[in-house]
């Protein structure tokens, strides 16, 4: 495996680790300004805008989410939730000079009070290499699509990030 491929795989692990550590500001820094976080409602959904999704969020909404999690009147986070990602080795689907596509199987667990639930599925990342800035070539997330195994099921609150 090339160093480049290793870096990509470590990047995917590091993203999940930041969520689990609840370092949300650092986590959101991994996303480009025009990034999109999508969790479809239907298993093989292709439509993005003209049907319901569970999440379809730009950086503004993701920023709202991470601010809300810290809010002193965010009662659904009193007490706080915790989460854990168990990832399979990311599969690199496409790799070229400016963009990388990966697919990663996950088991995601979220807990709060005495409740704990697990979501299973695959996450598809589209990563972009920075062309300039401090670290040329550094990876950023342009798009993250979370495909749950059971997106249509009657879930209770899913409060953190898969």
């Amino acid at each position: 495996m090339s160093t480049d491929q290793q870096d990509i795989i470590h990047f995917i692990y590091a993203e999940a680790a930041l969520i689990d550590a609840q370092k949300f500001t650092e986590w959101l820094d991994l996303y480009t300004e025009d990034a999109l976080y999508w969790m479809p409602l239907e298993f093989d959904q292709t439509e993005e805008h003209l049907t319901t999704s569970l999440m379809y969020e730009d950086k503004l909404l993701l920023t709202v989410r991470i601010n809300r999690l810290q809010g002193h009147r965010t009662y659904s986070q009193k007490p706080r939730s915790r989460c854990h990602h168990l990832l399979q080795t990311p599969e690199i689907l496409e790799i070229n000079d400016d963009e990388v596509k990966t697919k990663t199987a996950f088991h995601y667990t979220e807990t709060r009070n005495d409740e704990q639930f697990t979501l299973v599925g695959w996450v598809e990342h589209t990563l972009k290499r920075a062309s300039d800035g401090e670290k040329p070539g550094a990876l950023k997330i342009l798009r993250k699509r979370v495909n749950l195994l059971n997106p249509e099921a009657a879930h209770s609150n899913i409060q953190l990030f898969v």
Binding site: M39, L41, E42, E47, H49, L50, T51, T52, S53, L54, M55, Y56, L60, L61, T63, V64, R65, N67, R68, G71, R73, T74, Y75, S76, E152, A153, A154, H155, S156, N157, I158, Q159
Partner: protein, 436 residues
């Protein structure tokens, strides 16, 4: 189960409600036998079963049903069990069954109006008395079904008000949602959001007309959106659609007070009589012209100018015409409810409407929605808090006045009159005996 003392549960005028109404499983069972049998419960939309043989499966209260388009193009509502040994005939939520249902267990078959079609090797039933059995009659069918402009309602009981007497003027909210289509037609889009709530279904009904909670309970979500938007705001940018949808949740008590509430007989009512949190959405290009062409200027403006916010239909449905959303509060147990949130396309209108509707649904109604998280936290804390024996009463006295209910009446926008309307009628239906 002893006889339930309904009068002891709902104090006069619906001003105080005993906690057992939310927590007691015997009361829940009684609701299934009365409230959900005696009233016209929403089953589904006819766009879900467009062709003959198409079906959709759901529940009415705790009763599994199949909504199916019969060979005569009429929509039938059948109880989802084989008359033989009780096997559910249809397990899929949607599909087409062709001209008949076939039980997977012993291949008994039934036409799509439930009537018996065939039993294999049926000579074994000769002279057994089978001819007079329940099984011989075929699938049980709900005889009181109404297709109101595409919205299918069913009343399980043979007794109860007629469709028109049950809904009276409240149908105007469904009318308005449909009339917003230049073709006067809606279509269900996609699957519904399904959201598990560990609380009683009536807490969700109450919440739909609870105008004193958004600025408090949703400070964490809507308030944060307001703050974040302000901090990044670029005067050259127009307000993003999502900000436009969520900011009105932070409207003041005074704003909500002025919006008003309207109640109708039999437990129906709505918020947003004059102005609502949906009033100030941006115009969508081309739509005004389409509407004027379809309806004429005056009628088009009156349809588009309708500001209704949430309309509650007794017992367990809410319709939001301005965002073409329908929510069902599906009772599973005294402390368990599944909320389904459905969206519609305004047939003939620009796609931007559907984009806004789909956005509203995921931002507000999803299990991943931060607004939903705020609300669910309150319901589940209430469900737990009601275990306190020292005070068993839920208080609904805000803006109470005598003779506030009956016919069509208006109330201040922060009144709990529609909640009282719900419980006064709930108590009435709970006291009915069902002999059918």
């Amino acid at each position: 189960m002893g006889k339930i003392d309904i009068d002891g549960l709902v104090r006069p005028g619906g001003r105080e409600i005993h906690r057992d109404v939310f927590t007691d499983q015997d009361i829940f069972q009684q609701e299934m036998k009365t409230v959900f049998r005696r009233t016209w419960v929403y089953v589904g939309h006819d766009s879900q079963v467009q062709n003959k043989g198409d079906f959709y499966t759901t529940t009415i209260g705790n009763q599994p049903v199949i909504m199916v388009r019969h060979t005569d193009d009429q929509i039938q509502v059948l109880l989802n069990r084989c008359p033989h040994k009780g096997v559910k005939l249809v397990e899929d939520t949607n599909g087409s069954t062709g001209k008949f249902f076939r039980c997977p267990y012993h291949a008994w078959s039934f036409k799509t109006d439930g009537s018996p079609l065939g039993i294999p090797f049926n000579k074994g039933y000769e002279e057994t008395g089978f001819d007079t059995s329940c099984a011989k009659k075929g699938m049980c069918k709900v005889s009181n079904v109404q297709n109101y402009r595409g919205f299918i309602f069913a009343r399980l009981s043979d007794e109860g008000e007629s469709f028109e007497d049950f809904f009276t003027g409240s149908l105007s909210s469904i009318d308005n949602m449909i009339d917003r289509s230049p073709e006067g037609r809606l279509e269900v889009v996609g699957k519904p959001l399904r959201y598990m709530h560990k609380c009683n279904w009536k807490m969700l009904v109450d919440n739909q007309t609870d105008t004193c909670h958004p600025m408090i309970a949703h400070e964490s979500s809507a308030g944060t959106i307001k703050r974040v938007w302000k901090s990044v705001q670029d005067e050259t940018l127009s307000k993003p659609m999502v900000v436009e949808l969520v900011l009105p949740f932070m409207s003041s008590y005074d704003d909500f007070e002025k919006m008003g509430i309207r109640t109708w007989d039999n437990g129906h009512g709505h918020t947003g009589v004059s102005g609502s949190i949906h009033s100030d959405y941006s115009d969508i290009d081309g739509y005004y012209g389409q509407m004027v062409d379809a309806y004429g200027k005056d009628r088009a403006e009156s349809i588009m100018g309708e500001t209704r916010h949430n309309t509650c239909y007794f017992p367990n449905m809410m319709v939001k015409g301005a965002t073409q959303t329908l929510r069902l509060f599906i009772p599973i147990a005294a402390n368990k409810t599944i909320v389904e949130s459905w969206i519609f396309r305004l047939v003939g209108a620009p796609d931007t409407f559907l984009k806004r509707t789909a956005m509203y649904n995921r931002i507000i109604n999803a299990p991943t929605s931060i607004v939903g998280h705020d609300d669910l936290e309150m319901y589940e804390r209430a469900q737990e808090g009601l275990s306190v024996d020292a005070n068993p009463w839920v208080n609904l006295q805000r803006h109470y006045r005598e003779d506030e209910l009956g016919g069509e009446q208006l109330h201040p926008g922060t009144s709990e009159a529609q909640m009282r309307n719900h419980y006064v009628n709930w108590a009435r239906y709970m006291s009915t005996e069902d002999n059918s």
